[in-house]
Amino acid sequence: MILSLLNQRTLFAFASFLTALPGGKVAQEGQHVSEGGNNWMIEDLADSHTLEIQPFGPIHLPTLPPIQVLGITVDLSPTKYLIFLWIAALIVTLGLILLARRKQDDLIPRGWKNVIDVFIVFIRDEVIIPTIGHEGIKFLPFLLTLFFFILTSNLLGLIPDAITPTGNINVTAGLALISFLVIQGSGIAKHGLIGYFRGLVPPGIPFFVIPIMVAVEFIGLFTKPFALTVRLFANMTAGHIVIFSLIGLIFLFKTVAVAPISIGFALFIYFMEIMIAFIQAYIFTILTALFIGLAVHQEH
């Protein structure tokens, strides 16, 4: 528990750099410097309390008074990323539950169920069996939830006016924190608390190397979820920044002649983003499965 808190705090301290950008502060105060200002890109990427749905103009989300939890001031007011996080969660939950509840009187799945079945069988046979083995089937619901949630969040940002929830480092940090707890929990459940931490150091190594090995392995426990966090966040943000920059070239050069080139490139990046959305969801899932496998099979 202490480990997870430590991890969470380091991640969040690190995460604060994006939300502490000047663009975010400007957006929070409700002023708009988009015209002429060069931080409109940051303003769009940083979190704020204003939803910009284009035909309706800015929607100001309600702000709740900050509350005190264990001596830490927590601001629980909804932000634009949170709204789209809820939308993603709603889509995944409702969509998958409704699909699962559909009548199963015929053996051959039809329609959307076919698509979902492909993913489920893929996660089971190509992700879990090679990394954890047959005992890893019990992690199938968790990994499927992770996969579908990340996939939906990634794809949500490709809809105009929508925001990628996974483009916020706090969201990916939260997801990685859940993975971290499951990874450590699975290892501890398999080997016991003492056996798990003893198993971190491989047997038969010289005595003087043990302290170094313990330190390296212990840091390794935390770099894994950190890498998961940064990878997903950076991949999601980078694609949006590239599309922004390409579209921004038109306004930078102040001519329509650039438009065909930049729109063409932006479209190309957009299609690549669709691919990246799937690949990153897959990578997050397979790496979580791999780390669970490493925690469960310590003899390797």
């Binding site: 750099f17 950008l21 190509e126 090679p130 890498a227 940064v230 990878r231 950076a234 690949i279 897959y282 990578i283 397979i286 790496l287 791999l290």
Partner: protein, 75 residues
């Protein structure tokens, strides 16, 4: 030049160097994977899975460097 200019220069150079390193690593990895699947097409699936995992780990290290550069640039 002011210290801020040096910091921005360092951030840009650091980002570029990190990308060179990551691209070199992933390029070697892809080349080896292609060769392996060309020689033994029956293990192409396994090799591809290992490649994606290794590429993700290399990418992770590169992204650490990029994040450090971003922090350097915006502070």
């Amino acid at each position: 030049m002011s210290p801020f200019a040096f910091a921005h220069l360092a951030a840009g150079l650091g980002a570029a160097l990190a990308v060179i390193g990551g691209a070199f690593g992933i390029g070697k990895l892809a080349a080896a994977t292609m060769e392996a699947s060309g020689r033994q097409p029956e293990v192409a699936g396994d090799v591809r899975t290992s490649m994606i995992i290794s590429a993700a780990l290399i990418e992770g290290v590169t992204l650490f460097a990029e994040v450090i550069c971003i922090i350097l640039a915006i502070k």
